[in-house]
């Protein structure tokens, strides 16, 4: 039950109902309040004769009556006064107006008595006019000493007119009032309004009393979907609060304008004003609630347009938008200077030379400085992307606008450096591991080789034993070769070798290598043909590494060539490279992709029965690469072709 109530409490339906109630209450309260203010006169007066409205109208008529009977008197009296023509004309005009006015009123009665002549002037037809007048609650009396002013607006003026005259003046409205003049109309209205005013007061009070709890409820629940829940802002809250405030003010001003333009004397206009007024209250109420939600959500200041602009311009974004303000400022200052120059006339040249030119030079200078920074950053990024990760970006030369970008690029560069360093370290560790393991293998192998040899000397009278010893000897030698190759392959592939490039004659090297392999070539029954260009081919290479490459190729040729076949070694040169080509016919079919042959431990014979470690071509390729050359293998049926390109020696 309790939860249900809470759910109802925060439901949109309840909120909307409360909102409508508050809105209606506000409208009725405001409406009755305005009525109340409008009819303040009625409210504070006991009777119609107490109202300011009555006093005003009554006083005007008293004034008129006195003026008519005491000053103007008659047409002839005015004409014989001997005043100026204009004055006479003016007084005559007044005379007729007042005469007309007095004759139109039906409830106004006066009694004027000349104490010297005992002459009586009155508009009352009754015998005892004075008694009738004096009986009325609204009676007033004037003579030259007495001003029964009763706060009558024209009391002073009237008294002045009677000063120095022997007149006594009584006036009143005769009750009961008869229809036909303003007194009657107004007294009817007064009675009506007087009756209405207590109702209006009640409506005002009731509206306010009803509105307060609903308004408080709205203040509490607005923006919340449940008790203590998150503040959810509605679409109206997306309007910047400062903009919202200004819009509300503008709406208020517009509605005031509309209201003041209305005469409020017909129903259409009243309806329009009421509509505008209702909309105003709606806007105001939603505005207040929106502000409350923003305060609850602690977003009142953040959600202002001013704050947003400030935030956009000055908060730490990569791109500082305030530089755009500089652009605006630049244009504005230039425009102002040009306007000034145009205005200055004769001083035009002076302003032009001493203000406009230096200002633009300065602007161009700072813009150029920024662009220079940008181009420096771009240059650095280009350098880094092409692999020069040690390129130094001098941050001191970068302007403020781009310093953050420069910093970010530096940190990317740092990360890259670290990654590369770690990769190098990893490769080195791998090489070290292989080298260390190989060293550990070498020591026991030394004993194996030594004892196999010692056993051989033991004159074993056993053919089988001799045969087994032969196998042991061969395999231990093979093991030794494998270990050495392994060390070399890991060093070559990790680039962990020093290269001292010198000027080398490729042809001489091939001749030397073939000299070394002469016996093995003969043993393999191969016919080696060396074809060299007439000119010497000088390459830039490390002699030892180059020998190892050629040795590995020759060793391959000797091991895997078809007996009695020809081997072609060509030496040539292209624009940049010295070319060494070795072609031979394989004894076994080659069904391995060429690129796989340079991988470690891959051998042409899958059965691996022949001697060799499967590292020869891999080592040769690695050694070629670390010397800046290229190593390619082509297989065409049984034709096996290796192409080594080494950079030419440049004097």
């Amino acid at each position: 039950m309790d939860t249900k109530l809470k759910n109802v409490k925060y439901s949109p339906g309840a909120k909307i109902t409360a909102f409508v109630i508050v809105w209606l209450c506000a409208m009725s309260a405001a409406g009755s309040f305005i009525w109340w203010v409008y009819h303040q006169d009625t409210k504070t007066s006991e009777s119609y004769y107490d109202t300011y409205q009555f006093k005003n109208e009554f006083s005007v008529l008293v004034h008129n009556a006195v003026e008519y009977n005491v000053e103007l008197k008659s047409e002839t009296n005015i004409k014989s006064s001997g005043d100026a023509e204009d004055s006479i004309k003016n007084e005559l005009q007044r005379y007729y107006i007042i005469k007309n006015k007095l004759s139109n009123t039906v409830n106004f009665a006066y009694y004027l008595k000349d104490t010297e002549t005992e002459e009586i002037i009155t508009n009352v037809a009754n015998e005892d006019a004075l008694a009738l007048i004096q009986k009325q609650p609204s009676v007033v009396y004037y003579d030259q000493w007495t001003s029964a002013s009763n706060n009558h607006p024209f009391g002073g003026d009237i008294a002045q007119m009677l000063t120095g005259t022997p007149y006594q003046f009584y006036a009143a409205v005769i009750e009961p009032l008869k229809p036909g003049d303003v007194f009657y109309d107004h007294s009817i209205k007064f009675t009506q309004n007087k009756a209405l005013s207590s109702y209006v007061t009640f409506v005002l009070m009731a509206s306010i009393i009803l509105m307060i709890p609903f308004f408080i409820y709205l203040v509490i629940v607005t923006g919340r979907r449940e008790q203590g829940g998150e503040i959810t802002l509605s679409f109206i809250d997306r309007i910047y609060t400062d903009v919202h405030t200004i819009l509300v003010f503008i709406a208020a001003i517009i509605s005031l304008r509309i209201a003041s333009a209305m005469q409020l004397d017909n129903e259409v206009e009243l309806f329009i004003v009421a509509l505008v007024f209702g909309i105003d209250i709606l806007i105001g109420l939603s505005y207040v609630l929106s502000m409350i939600r923003q305060i609850k959500g602690k977003k009142l200041l953040k959600n202002t347009l001013v704050y947003s602009i400030f935030d956009l311009c000055f908060n730490g974004r990569a791109f500082k938008a305030w530089t755009l303000l500089l652009l605006l400022g630049y244009g504005a200052v230039n425009g102002m200077l040009f306007a000034l120059a145009a205005d200055a006339g004769g001083g035009f040249v002076g302003i032009f030379i001493f203000l406009i030119i230096p200002f633009n030079i300065a602007a161009v200078y700072f813009a150029a400085k920024s662009l220079l920074s940008l181009s420096q950053i771009m240059q650095a990024v280009k350098e880094i992307s092409t692999g020069n990760i040690d390129h130094v970006l001098d941050k001191s030369q970068i302007t403020v606008t781009f310093s953050r970008l420069a910093g970010d690029i530096q940190s990317i560069q740092g990360g890259l450096k670290k990654a590369v360093a770690e990769a190098v370290k990893g490769e080195r560790m791998k090489t070290d591991l292989i080298t260390n393991v190989s060293h550990d293998l070498k020591t026991p192998l030394t004993s194996v080789i030594n004892y196999v040899d010692l056993l051989k000397q033991e004159n074993l009278n056993n053919d089988k034993a001799q045969e087994y010893l032969g196998v042991l000897e061969e395999k231990s030698a093979r093991l030794k070769q494998l270990i050495e190759d392994l060390i070399e392959a890991s060093k070559a592939s990790s680039g962990n070798l020093t290269v001292s490039a010198v000027k080398i004659d490729l042809h001489e090297l091939v001749m030397q290598a073939c000299g070394e392999y002469e016996e093995k070539i003969k043993k393999a029954a191969l016919d080696v043909h060396i074809n060299a260009a007439d000119t010497k081919t000088f390459i830039s290479a490390d002699g030892k590494h180059m020998w190892r490459i050629v040795e590995n190729l020759l060793s391959n040729v000797v091991k895997y060539s078809m007996p009695h076949s020809r081997v072609y070694i060509n030496i040539a040169q292209s624009d940049q490279y010295g070319l060494l080509t070795v072609k031979n016919i394989s004894a076994n079919p080659l069904d391995i992709p060429p690129e796989q042959l340079t991988e470690r431990f891959v051998r042409g014979d899958v059965s691996r029965t022949t001697e060799g470690s499967g590292l020869g071509l891999s080592i040769a390729q690695s050694l070629t690469n670390i010397q800046g050359g290229r190593f390619m293998i082509e297989i065409d049926g049984d034709l096996f072709k290796v192409l080594v390109e080494m950079p030419l020696w440049l004097d």
Binding site: I449, D453, Q457
Partner: protein, 241 residues
């Protein structure tokens, strides 16, 4: 206590100190050395080696590098402070830098494991001859000499460690030309033109084949020549010692 098998000959024998932490290697080497009629003293650490040197007359040391207590390089330095006997380092470390370090620390030779026992014996004998024959051969005029390699133009003889090497006429011609210009590198063509006395057409690999054969005769390990060196892609030379 070092016990020697042939007690009588003890004083005449040349003693070799074998030092390695791997007993199998020490034992095998002892057998080979005894076959060559050397006295053998065994040690398993650098400290033991120094102790043995202090106690006995030793003519040559075979020394491992990676040993407990005192490593081979430190031992070499200590030995060199005292005595000028030949030291041959035996090591699994096969880098050029390791070899250079060992030789610079005072070793006379550097052999990498696993070694060929016969090659090692040849090196031991070579060092021993150099050490014992020191100063006994006065070099007469006209003899070309580098290390223990001698060429006598008068006798038309080439000797290594005093032993005469049999050479063909062409091989002798090549050796004479190279030893007359010791330390100088000559290309195949240059050698051909000087030795054959006719222009080279560079089609033949005669010269490299001859040089390989000479190396096989004069070098202990032809693949790592001490005297007749290959400068790859440039030519050949006799190393000046």
């Amino acid at each position: 206590m070092i016990k020697q098998h042939s007690g009588v000959m003890e004083m005449d024998k040349l003693n070799v100190l074998v030092c390695d932490d791997d007993t199998a290697i020490v034992d095998a080497l002892a057998i080979y050395l005894k076959q060559e009629n050397y006295g053998v003293i065994k040690a398993y650490t650098g400290k033991q080696a120094l102790k043995a040197l202090a106690e006995q007359t030793i003519h040559l040391v075979l020394l491992d590098i990676m040993m407990p207590e005192l490593d081979g390089l430190s031992t070499t330095i200590k030995i060199r402070e005292e005595i000028n006997i030949p030291i041959i380092i035996l090591s699994a470390k096969s880098e050029d830098t390791d070899k250079i370090t060992g030789l610079n620390f005072g070793a006379d030779d550097y052999v990498t494991k696993p070694f060929n026992p016969l090659e090692l014996m040849a090196r031991v004998k070579s060092q021993m001859r150099r050490y014992t024959a020191l100063g006994c051969l006065a070099s007469s005029s006209g003899i070309l000499k580098t290390g223990s390699l001698e060429l006598d133009p008068d006798a038309k003889e080439l000797r290594v460690d005093g032993e005469v090497i049999k050479l063909t006429a062409t091989e002798y011609g090549i050796m004479l030309f190279l030893m007359q210009n010791m330390g100088h590198v000559f290309s195949i063509d240059q050698i051909y033109e000087h030795v054959w006395n006719e222009p080279s057409y560079s089609a033949e690999n005669t010269v490299p084949v001859h040089i390989r054969r000479i190396r096989e005769k004069i070098e202990i390990n032809p693949k790592e020549p001490k005297y007749l060196k290959v400068v790859w892609g440039i030519g050949y030379k006799i190393e000046k010692c």
